[in-house]
């Protein structure tokens, strides 16, 4: 035990001090009332939770969050699988393609979000310009202002910035599959699709599992894309739980730190439960097959 502490101690101190302690602080904060400047005025009991859960905005925000996470993760995983398959083939110039896929990963989310904010712009944006020039649309679209287009526009950026990591993870997964199982499939005369379905996908399972879980966590917690692309819209019509929580504490008129903390606790529980359900579900599928 003593030796374990020596080897694990530094990691443990950081995790306890900067991850667990703020989590406890958040929990404590969710039961207090605070002045606008952040001074604790007293206990709130469960008021913050009641206010949060009965807030008229909550339904819309929960729905936005569900759409955002499910659509971005599913598209990212499906496109990522295809992209990884492509990146694992050998062809002239593959190295440059792999480098290109890295670019949105290396660019900070804030930077990519600002870039898309200008490209989506109603007047000055290149996207409307190109679509008009090609005759695909006849009047410009207010991508970030028209409520029909805001979420799809944000989802596109969400998928774009999630693809590089996911594709690389799947390339790594494909590399882990031994070459001789493909050889065996070829001897058996399997078609490429059969090979993919019966060999590649099952053997890629660990990578897909990790890809889904990490993307669920990243996308749920994704802040800059929504914060920046949705920044000019009033209200919370396009917010997810994360940006809604932030607005409660730091942007709303009354800087409600207590209610924001309750939202934070709620968010932590949502992601723990969602990941738990997903893992349960895939295990169950696995058990069913065996």
């Amino acid at each position: 035990m003593g030796e374990a502490l020596l080897w694990l101690g530094p990691a443990l101190v950081l995790i306890l001090g900067v991850v667990v302690y703020p989590a406890i602080t958040l929990f404590a904060t969710s039961f207090g009332t605070y002045s606008i400047t952040g001074l604790r005025k007293g206990s709130a009991g469960f008021d913050n939770y009641v206010n949060f859960l009965t807030s008229p905005d909550l339904g819309q925000v929960m729905w936005n969050t569900l759409v955002w996470v499910v659509v971005v993760v599913v598209l990212t995983i499906v496109i990522g699988l295809g992209l990884a398959q492509f990146l694992s083939k050998s062809f002239f110039g593959r190295r440059f393609v792999r480098w290109a896929v890295i670019v949105p990963w290396a660019a900070a989310l804030v930077i990519s979000s600002q870039l898309f904010r200008l490209m989506y712009d109603y007047y000055h944006g290149i996207i409307n310009h190109v679509l008009l020039a090609l005759g695909i649309i006849h009047t410009p679209i207010d991508w970030l202002g028209d409520s029909r287009f805001v979420m799809p526009s944000m989802i596109l950026v969400g998928v774009f910035v999630s693809l590089p990591f996911t594709a690389y993870l799947f390339v790594a997964g494909l590399n882990a599959i031994p070459a001789d199982v493909y050889e065996a499939a070829r001897i058996d005369g399997a078609t490429p699709w059969q090979t993919y379905r019966t060999i590649t996908l099952p053997l890629l399972r660990p990578a897909i599992l990790i890809g889904v879980v990490l993307n669920m966590i990243y996308v749920f917690n994704s802040f800059p894309v929504i914060w920046i692309l949705n920044g000019s819209n009033p209200g919370v019509g396009n917010d997810t739980m994360i940006t809604y929580m932030y607005k409660l504490a730091f942007k709303s008129g009354d800087h409600d730190i207590g209610m924001s903390a309750a939202a934070g606790i709620f968010n932590v529980l949502i992601i723990l439960i969602a990941v738990g359900i997903y893992l349960r579900f895939v295990n169950w599928r696995q058990g069913d097959k065996a």
Binding site: M1, A4, W7, L8, P10, A11, L12, L14, I15, G17, V18, V20, P22, A23, I24, L26, T29, G38, L83, F86, S88, K89, F91, F92, F96, V97, R98, W99, A100, I102, V103, W105, A106, A107, A108, L109, V110, Q114, L115, L118, M119, V171, A172, G173, A176, D180, Y182, I187, G189, I217, N221, F223, M245, Y246, A249, F250, I257, G264, V268, V275
Partner: protein, 298 residues
């Protein structure tokens, strides 16, 4: 995608004839189709940043023209010159470098011994420790930001590099530990035992024998931590109010506000921040795939 057949030549020789013939047409076509597909992928991933570059190379007034033009009418480096000479920008760059480098060094220093120990030894509390690490992976600083703000407020660390370094380090330990543990677990015990017989202590074995073997894993962990810290936004947005101490991710937003829309300078600043990271990433791309293969997905 060609596979070695030296082990079973006789079986393969007869079995290959039929599919080979059928595939010859595709084999010829793929020499052109695949590189063309590659070009399309490159365009999809790079063209937005090409738009960024073209906007950084024209006068700001032209960025805000309606309708926009794809190529600049006037080519100019003014935005780059202005940004490089801007003391605010220099400060933001400095903060980003200090914070990302420090956090990365801390993560590697604390994750290596922890990963090695948990991969190699069973001890009381091992399961609890690993459980704690998994849960940390799910806690993003974003959802805890109110708690983080209150902690550093109480400690008097609002507006300090330290607060950002500690946060970035703590939240990235989990991933680094997980990758490195995969590497340590994959190294045969015999190698270590041989080193122990030669008289190396546990620490000496780790440093001289194990670390060189886990180099791809370390490269992967370093890259992920550095990128995560370099890109961190929400904690810095909340904890740093002093303009001179902001990192790039927060600072650059002040080029485009309700009062002033200097897109050309924002993009010039962004490119200065992106290009070194892309190059770094490209250089280690091979290790990255190898690191993920051995550390994460096996």
């Amino acid at each position: 995608m060609t596979t070695s057949s030296s082990t079973r030549p006789s079986v393969l020789a007869s079995a290959r004839v039929i599919p080979r013939r059928r595939l010859r047409g595709w084999a010829n076509a793929r020499r052109f189709v695949l590189p063309l597909g590659g070009l399309a992928v490159i365009l999809v991933f790079v063209s937005p940043y090409l738009v960024m570059l073209l906007d950084a190379l024209r006068p700001n007034g032209e960025v805000l023209a309606t309708p926009p033009a794809v190529l600049p009418k006037t080519w100019t480096f003014d935005a780059f010159v202005a940004v490089i000479g801007d003391t605010d920008f220099q400060n933001w760059l400095k903060t980003s470098l200090i914070v990302a480098l420090s956090a990365t060094v801390i993560v590697i220093l604390v994750a290596i011994p922890a990963a090695y120990f948990t991969a190699r030894f069973s001890f009381r509390g091992r399961v609890i420790f690993l459980g704690l690490v998994v849960v940390t992976q799910m806690f993003a600083p974003t959802s805890l930001v109110v708690g983080i703000y209150r902690e550093f407020y109480d400690l008097g660390l609002i507006n300090t590099y330290g607060a950002l370094i500690l946060t970035d380090a703590a939240f990235n330990i989990a991933f680094a530990l997980w990758i490195l543990q995969g590497f340590f677990a994959a190294i045969p015990k015999e190698i270590e035992e041989a080193a122990a017989l030669d008289g190396s202590g546990r620490f000496g074995t780790l440093m001289r024998v194990m670390l060189p073997l886990t180099l791809p894993g370390i490269v992967t962990a370093v890259t992920f931590t550095f990128i995560a810290a370099w890109n961190e936004y929400v904690v810095a947005l909340t904890l740093i109010q002093d303009d001179a101490l902001k990192p790039l991710t927060v600072g650059i937003n002040s080029y485009v506000t309700a009062y002033e829309q200097n897109w050309a300078e924002m993009f010039a600043a962004s490119l200065i921040a992106i290009v070194p990271v892309v190059i770094l990433f490209a250089l280690i791309e091979k290790h990255l795939v190898g690191g993920l293969t051995a550390g994460a997905v096996k």
